[in-house]
Structure formats: C-alpha cells, structure tokens
Amino acid sequence: MKVLYDLMAEYGMALDEDRLEDWVELFEEACDYRVVTRENVEQNLPNVLMWCDNKNMLRDRVESYRNVNLYNPHYDRHVIGPLRIAGEKANVWSFDASYSLFQTDLEGNTRIFSVGRYRVEARLAGDAAKLKSVMVIADTGTVPSLLATPI
C-alpha cells in the first residue's frame, strides 16, 4: 500500500520541516488526533495529553503555536517504522506503526524525546489517502520538558 506509506512519510516530514499547517491538511474534517500514554492505556484510563476531535481543533492548536504559545525552540526528527496493516473496511485502512521522535536544540544537542506507536485509520479515495484518526500511544510517558509540536 504505497499510498499509506507515502502518507506516513509526509506525516513525519511535515512535522520535522515545521510545516505544521501541511500536517493538518493530511487529516479529513471529521478526524480525531490523540496523544495518550501507554501507562494510561494499560490501566484502561482515558486521560489524554492532547486531544483534537475534529480538524478545527487541529487548526486551533497550530495557530496557537504560531502566535500564542511559547516553547523550547527545537527541531523534531521522526523515524517511522514499517506499517503493520490490520485491515480495510469501506475504504478505511487500519494500521499501526512504531515511531521514534528525536529532538534537537538550537545548539545541536539531540535527545530521544518520545518513542511509541501510532494507531491509524486512513481513508482511501482514488490515489489519495487522508487521516481519519491517529492515536499516538507514547511509551515515553514522562514528557521531557514539555510537549508542544505534535508527535
């Protein structure tokens, strides 16, 4: 499923190149983006670090980062592993992928910021795919410093 691989490649690159607005455009309007931690998931607890239950909330987050919030200046680098495709239903493909997210400060010091897995649903329409839902399940439950730019 090359189109799904391409989608996730652009997902990582858009974030790493600080094209947050392009990243938002990878989602469909009625989407769901959530960052949760494995600690909560394994205890069946619904807590979220971040939750946008539609595309407007994603737009609001990005606009707030651009104009309002202050956070540590950094570069992100996502390394996304192979997709494990679970199946398809009505053109919506479900898959998992592991990720590693490295963060580098302006003086070039790099740290592992977060590792975990994506649980994704993507809708296929012709040659294109849009994200219906992304649940980031972070093994890294202790957020180093703070979490601003999306995972």
Binding site: Q43, N47, V48, W51, N72, G141, T142, S145, L146
Partner: protein, 418 residues
C-alpha cells in the same frame, strides 16, 4: 559549599540563586522537609479504593508504598526491603494480600510490617536467622497518614508535625473539601520531567504575576487575565497558597488596556472550536481557575472543568517530575467526562496554559548555574508583611514559601518574617 545561607534581606524579597543548585542543600531538604515534620501529598484515596490495593509514590527522593489493609485502614511506608534494600514493589499499583521482595522473598503486610522470610529457621537444623532476630524491629520506616476529604498526606515525623488540619489551616481543609465534595473517578495520569530544581516549580505555583504574561493563551482567549476578579489566599503561616479567579468577571476593554502588547490579538484571534474553553460552573463560588498548592509537594488544579491533583517529585538538585492525576466526579455522565478530557488540553505537559512553565523553569536553571552569589528579585506586590490579596499582581506567596522553607531548614535570617 557549606549549607548556610546569607539571606540578603529578612523579608525574602531576595532569593539567592544557589538555593536551586547546591547539592548539599538538596540533601538537607530531603532530610529536614520531606523526611521531616512537613506533611507531603501522597496520592488520592480514590486510587486505592479496595482492601489490598496499593500504589507507589514518592516523598521527596524516598520511594513510598501507600496501601489499604483488609480492614480498610490506609498505611504508607518506605518502599525498601529491610534486608538488603531492594525496592519491594516495582509496579505502579496493584492489589495483594502481602508484598514480597523479589530478591530473597521477604514478605510484608499491607501495613508495612515484615511478616516472614524464607529459611528463617534454617534447613534441617542448619543456617537460618539467629533465634533472637526480631522482625518487628527491622520493618520499613512508616509514615503517619492522614486523610483530608480524600486527599492523602503523610509525614515521617508525626511527633514533630502539627496535626494535619492545623497544618493545612482552614484555608487548606476548606478548599480540599470543595474539590473533593463527592466521590471521584480517576481519569489518568501525566508526567513531565523538568530540568530545574523542584523549588522553581513550587515558586511558579505561588507566582500569580507570571500567569497571564507567560501563558498568553490565557489572555488571548480570555481564560484568565489579571483584570478578572481573583487573588491569592494563604494559610496563617503563609506556606500554602491559592491563586484563583472568577469566570467572566472582567471586560474585553479592561483586558485590552492592561495587555497593550497583546491587545491587537484579542479581537483577531478566535478559536474555531470554542468547546475547548466552555466552562460549566459546578461550584457555588463560581471560580473557573483555582490552584491551591500545599507545601511542600502538593497541588489541586481546576482550570474550567478540568480538575486534578499534582505532586512535585524532586529528582536530584536540577530536575523534578510533575506527576498529575486528573479526575472526574463519579456521578458525571459520559458527555461530562468527555468535556473534562477536552478541557484537559489546557493543562499538563502539552497544556495550552501550562506548557510554558517547563520552558521558563529550565531556562532559569540553565542561566543561574553560573550566577554566583546573586539573587532573584521578588518584590512585585511589595515587601509588606505576608497577607492575602484581592489581586494577582503579586509575588507575595513566593516569599511565604521561602519563609517556611527557611524555618524547616533551620536557616532563617535574623528577624525573618513569617
């Protein structure tokens, strides 16, 4: 460096930067505050509802188990085997009749008593512990636990500590009851590791001056502005504090005049999805922001309809973890739980109105490592005696924190204010 402080002033309006960097002071804080007579926040009672439930926590740098025995009584004791010092419980939580150390299988009751150990009497008459070995005498160190409306506090030195209700004061017991007026349901946890001394976080919680300046989201979208009705409230000893504000108690015009720099943004920026900031008033006092903080490590937090508790966990002189537990009320319907989780976008490590704290604290820690004998300036709101204020343009509660910190550390300046 010797652990002695030359306070430039006895009103704590100057705070030497080295108090955030000196490893000897850090060791003394662990001994004199966290293992001393202060009452530390342990966890919420709702986290261990059933007999046999336990969970692990931290009091300063000491690992602690909080557990409920089969009669329902709550205990807390050091999570360290009496034998060779291994951590007894290694998971975050669970339910067990007895707790067993992995190394040599020494067994502990829910009350933290050593109750058995393998081969105590030897094997076939050989080996074993001496006949006079007293299990009781070596049981792990216990904390005295008190329950204030469902918020559990513990102290290592009950003989020196004030009774908890006196320690918290009417202010503390009243506000805890307000948050925990009915049964709660835990929604989950978040953790944030900040590369700064733990006291920078404690100061941050008492610094109402920064809230609407550092966290521009507050002002831009009108969640919390210094122009709102609100203030700081402290206990009689000024060691605890509550920053608070009342919803919709200012006008857009007031705010524009006060925040000239961001005024232009107030009209221009609007959230596309306004449910993020929806506030359903559920308390008679009408506060939409309440952040009561309890010396040394506890905090309750309400921002709109997200409610929770936080614990500060020192991790060496230059780092700490902020452990946050969000909850709902047990009688909330599904829509209300969802609303609280959406509101949770405001708080925590990724919170719209909290993420900046991590950065502010880290840049202080980084820049002050080389600050030598110089001090922070804490004069906003004046140098007057410590008292409650009906405004938030102040840092007075920070001075209160240092006053009590210095008392417990035995390092008060001559004539230090209280």
């Amino acid at each position: 460096m010797e652990a002695k402080i030359d306070w430039p002033r006895n009103d704590y309006s100057r705070v030497p930067f080295r108090l955030h960097h000196d490893p000897a002071l850090y060791e003394l804080e662990m001994e004199r505050i966290f293992r001393g007579p202060a009452w530390s926040f342990l966890c919420l009672e709702a986290e261990i509802p059933n007999p046999g439930d336990y969970r692990t926590t931290w009091v300063g740098d000491t690992p602690v188990i909080v557990s409920r025995d089969k009669e329902g009584a709550i205990h807390a004791f050091v999570n360290r085997c009496s034998h060779r010092g291994a951590m007894i419980v290694r998971n975050l939580r669970g339910n067990a009749e007895r707790l067993v150390c992995l190394y040599h299988r020494w067994c502990y009751s829910s009350a933290g008593e050593l109750t058995g150990l393998p081969f105590r009497k030897g094997l076939k008459g050989e080996g074993g512990m001496p006949a006079d070995f007293d299990m009781r005498a070596v049981s792990p160190r216990k904390l005295k636990v008190e329950n204030c409306s469902g918020m559990l506090f513990g102290t290592f030195q009950p003989e020196r500590a004030e009774p908890l209700d006196k320690y918290l004061g009417e202010f503390g017991t009243g506000i805890i009851k307000r948050f925990l007026s009915k049964p709660i349901r835990i929604l989950g946890y978040s953790r944030q590791r900040i590369a700064g001394n733990w006291k920078l976080y404690a100061e941050n919680l008492r610094d109402t001056y920064h809230a609407s300046l550092l966290h521009e989201f507050f002002v831009t979208y009108g969640v919390d502005r210094a122009t709102q009705k609100g203030g700081v409230k402290m206990d009689a000893r000024h060691r605890h504090n509550m920053n608070h504000a009342y919803a919709a108690s200012d006008s857009q015009e007031d705010a524009k005049a006060a925040y000239a720099d961001t005024a232009a943004r107030l009209d221009r920026m609007q959230l596309r999805d306004k449910k993020l900031l929806e506030f359903k008033n559920e308390y008679p006092d009408g506060m939409n922001l309440a952040a009561p903080t309890f010396f040394p490590n506890g905090l309750l937090i309400q921002i709109n309809n997200t409610i929770g508790a936080r614990q500060i966990r020192p991790k060496g002189v230059d780092a700490h973890e902020v452990f946050q537990t969000l909850f709902a009320y047990a009688d909330d319907d599904e829509a209300m739980v969802r609303h609280r989780l959406i509101s949770a976008n405001l708080v925590g490590p990724a919170g719209f109105v909290s993420m900046e704290d991590g950065e502010a604290i880290e840049v202080i820690q980084r820049a002050t490592a080389s600050a030598g004998d110089s001090s922070a300036v804490v004069e906003m709101g004046g140098r007057d005696p410590l008292r409650d204020l009906a405004h938030r343009v102040t840092e007075t509660p920070i001075r209160g924190f240092w006053s009590y910190w210095a008392e417990l550390m035995g390092m008060e300046p001559a004539g230090g204010i209280k």
